[in-house]
């Protein structure tokens, strides 16, 4: 809340961010919100990176248990979510870096790069899991 007062001296109840609910969803806003959500998800997902690296430090038994966990249905679901989050955040991050140098702000380009990001995220996620399943001998 800002310290700004109205003429009567009472603090004005100005709207605070996020102003998500007052807009109709558009590809620009939805992809932007997803970028943050995926970033937060990846941050929480770093717990599993800590677990994986730490398990190896504890020795073969602990590492084997970690491998079993990541290979279980719930573990694979977590890794799938993190894979998609990573590739989405990475691809859209490149889009952000292009904006940062002042390019790609016209509406047709915003839509086009947004669609490229979504397809890139799904494509790289699929590619990663196909390679993983081939290497695991599942397919």
């Amino acid at each position: 809340m800002t310290s700004e007062k109205s003429t009567t001296g009472a603090a004005k109840a100005r709207p605070l961010s996020p102003h998500l609910q007052v807009y109709n969803p558009q590809i620009t806003s939805v992809l932007s919100i997803l970028h943050r959500m995926m970033g937060v998800a990846l941050s929480f997902g770093s717990v599993f990176l800590i677990y994986w690296l730490s398990s190896a430090a504890y020795g073969p038994d602990a590492y084997g248990r970690a491998q079993d966990f990541f290979g279980s249905p719930i573990g694979q679901l977590i890794l799938l979510g993190l894979t998609f989050s990573l590739f989405y955040h990475l691809a859209n991050g490149i889009r952000h870096l292009i904006w940062d140098v002042g390019l790609g702000f016209d509406m047709p380009m915003l839509r086009a790069t947004g669609i490229v990001v979504v397809f890139t995220a799904f494509g790289l996620t699929a590619l990663t899991w196909i390679v993983a399943y081939v290497r695991a001998g599942i397919i």
Partner: protein
């Protein structure tokens, strides 16, 4: 009569309360560093699918892999802390809640980063 200019009045009223250009720039630098590092990381994890502890030890002990893994982990936790920091500033409006959340975010980043590094060193350099 108000003598301050509108700009002077508005300065410091954003959620961060102070200048953020260095934070913004560091976030861009870490994001650029993470582009190649995360692609390397994904390829590396794929190479370790089905690997046992011995394979992992061999992989981490390779000096190039140790270096890249350390760089990746440090940059991940740095970038993650920077991102969560901005999210907290944007969405947590109570001052107590905001400071508590910012401390938690920073503590998690240091704890997670250092725990990961120690785990890497332990395996890479032998225990």
């Amino acid at each position: 009569m108000e003598m301050r200019t509108p700009l002077a009045h508005a300065r410091g009223l954003g959620p961060a309360k102070s200048g953020c250009t260095s934070h913004w720039w560091a976030q861009r630098l870490t994001s650029m560093a993470l582009l190649p590092l995360m692609l390397w990381f994904v390829v590396s994890v794929l190479s370790l699918v089905g690997a046992d502890h011995g394979d992992y030890v061999l992989w981490v002990s390779d000096p190039g892999n140790t270096l890249l893994l350390v760089l990746t982990v440090v940059t991940i936790f740095y970038h993650s802390e920077q991102g969560l920091h901005v999210v907290v500033e944007d969405y947590v409006h109570s001052e107590v809640g905001k400071i508590t959340a910012l401390i938690a975010v920073k503590a998690f980043a240091y704890l997670g980063g250092i725990a990961s590094l120690l785990a890497i060193f332990r395996v890479a350099f032998g225990s």
